[in-house]
Symmetry: C2
Subunit: 331 residues, 2 copies
């Protein structure tokens, strides 16, 4: 087992976020799944875009956002994901590389276009996501650079991408490659609906000890374990996952690591502008410490600081000097 | 002369802004024209984009930004401009229509792509713009809907678009149509380099009494008149332009209307985040009052309020309820 060349390699959706603020009434009128993420087809994407207020475009994707956070915190990162050969694909690639992330998965020619997520942000800062996966759903296992995957200390996977068949097969292959190289596998559950559809896969991986680091929120923990109570949910899987991180929005987060429980409060902020990316940046903050061997208490605090930064502005990725912010907040 | 159907019809660049914050050093290293707007070709656009930090995309274009401001202030507006049939063109069109603006100029097939402006925002909030005009430079006179132009009380034109030949011809034709219909012509000088290249055109139009409302900043006033002193500059043309508006950044603005001089201070704000769109929104605030017959003092104040809003966040268009903001600030 050679020393890893990268701290984190991620496989995830390669999408551009289209973010508009809107009143609560519009979310009602359009019949959106408030606060959630809904997969939509091209016709529905057109319909929603026509009804959407003026928007801003920023590169997104859950794992990609986490990598962006990790990279700004100084970690060496590489990304694997599928864009199309189009303008939004160029935007996504630019933003990844400009953040210092290696991203060399070739663009896919022809239709569909690069995926996009239409995000309606209500006055309370809550984001309601509507995702047209586009080219992303065709990430083929053959596109994986297996040497690359073997060269990362942590392989980070997002649950959103477990839903379409080709990327799921690619991620299964990537897990095998990472495990064979003695690397850790981190997984973020992403959304309850993914667990509703693929919970058996996740539970089997947890039972088999495949997942070394698992990120869930309260709802996902419930869906995953079938327990209705947060603590019972933790108890149900904490012995099978070496590092289990459960976020609870404004109530902070809990980590159970090798049987020991740690907690952090949420970092206070003046105003929640847009919660897009909160979980992604919590994961980035946490992993930025964990990958460097920091104590779990500090990892949780770093997660809380990163999440607080990203929800204080529009867009899913950090906009300030994160190293300086961490130094200020953690001393 | 029938009653106009629109308050303002604008012809302008149809571009998407690509906005990144960066350190002052990068502006130096790349040899950018700090604080200005530079026209670039496709190769230079690629070079600058490769060197650019992660960015956000927002629809831009000087006159288009002004229309967006006017529309959010309740005016009836239509836009004429050239996008390509591509994703960024779709983004631009969506944002115009979602702001309530009629925009029906057909997209242009094939190369070049929709224009974009790479904007580097330094820590002082100053924006440095690098514009690849793309499809915009091919707006043909034949694309003008002359009935539409005749149906607007004010025809608003941006100087940036005077530089490429086809749009210049289209704007000359539009001026003739508007004048024949008894409408007013408003012009924004946009940038000193435009006046350096086309000052004779502008001076001839001013001498001929074609321009009813003229927006300039200090530098443009100097370039246009050849006077080195602000007041001498005003004096040189104020008798030839019924409404002359000269902005002075943090020093507020002056309007000379039919020989009478009015002034406003800049509206105080906590922090300048991004000056992109400051002049465009000043024009929107001013015109929103002027088109409705408000006193010049109030028009200037409205301009100052609109400019202050837009420089307090990234992006060239308003992000708050502008009617409510005006009501709060003007009582």
């Amino acid at each position: 087992m050679t020393d890893p060349r990268y701290d984190v390699i991620a496989i995830g959706n390669a999408v551009v976020d289209v973010i508009a603020s809107c009143e609560d009434e519009l979310v009602e009128e359009l019949g959106l799944n408030r606060g959630g993420m809904t997969l939509i087809d091209e016709d529905r994407a057109k319909e929603l875009y026509d009804a959407m207020p003026p928007a801003r475009e920023l590169s997104g994707g859950s794992a990609a956002n986490t990598l962006a956070g990790l990279s700004t915190l100084g970690l060496q990162c590489a990304f694997i994901g599928q864009v199309a050969a189009d303008q939004l694909g160029d935007v996504f690639r630019h933003d990844m590389r400009a953040t210092g992330i290696d991203f060399d998965t070739p663009a896919r020619e022809g239709e569909p276009a690069t995926g996009r997520v239409m995000i309606f942000v209500t006055p309370d800062g809550e984001r309601t996501m509507n995702t047209f996966l586009g080219a992303g759903q065709f990430l083929p296992a053959e596109a994986l650079d297996e040497d690359l995957i073997a060269s990362g200390a942590i392989l980070y996977l997002e649950g959103y991408l477990w839903d379409p068949e080709e990327p799921r097969r690619a991620m299964r292959r990537a897990i095998d490659v990472a495990k064979a190289a003695g690397r850790k596998v981190a997984f973020t559950a992403s959304e309850s609906f993914v667990i509703d559809r693929h919970g058996d896969d996740f539970r089997a991986m947890i039972d088999d000890g495949v997942i070394d680091i698992l990120f869930v929120n309260e709802h996902e923990l419930v869906s995953l374990t079938g327990e209705s109570d947060f603590d019972a949910g933790l108890a149900a899987i904490q012995d099978k996952v070496p590092v289990l991180v459960a976020t609870r929005s404004a109530d902070g987060a809990v980590c159970v690591a090798n049987g020991e429980r740690f907690e952090t409060a949420a970092e206070p902020i003046d105003k929640v502008v847009d919660t897009t990316g909160a979980g992604d940046q919590f994961a980035a903050g946490f992993l930025s410490g964990h990958a460097k061997g920091q104590p779990i208490d500090e990892c949780l605090k770093r997660g809380a600081v990163a999440a607080a930064e990203v929800i204080s502005h529009y867009g899913p990725r950090p906009e300030v000097d994160m190293k300086a912010l961490m130094a200020e907040k953690l001393g």
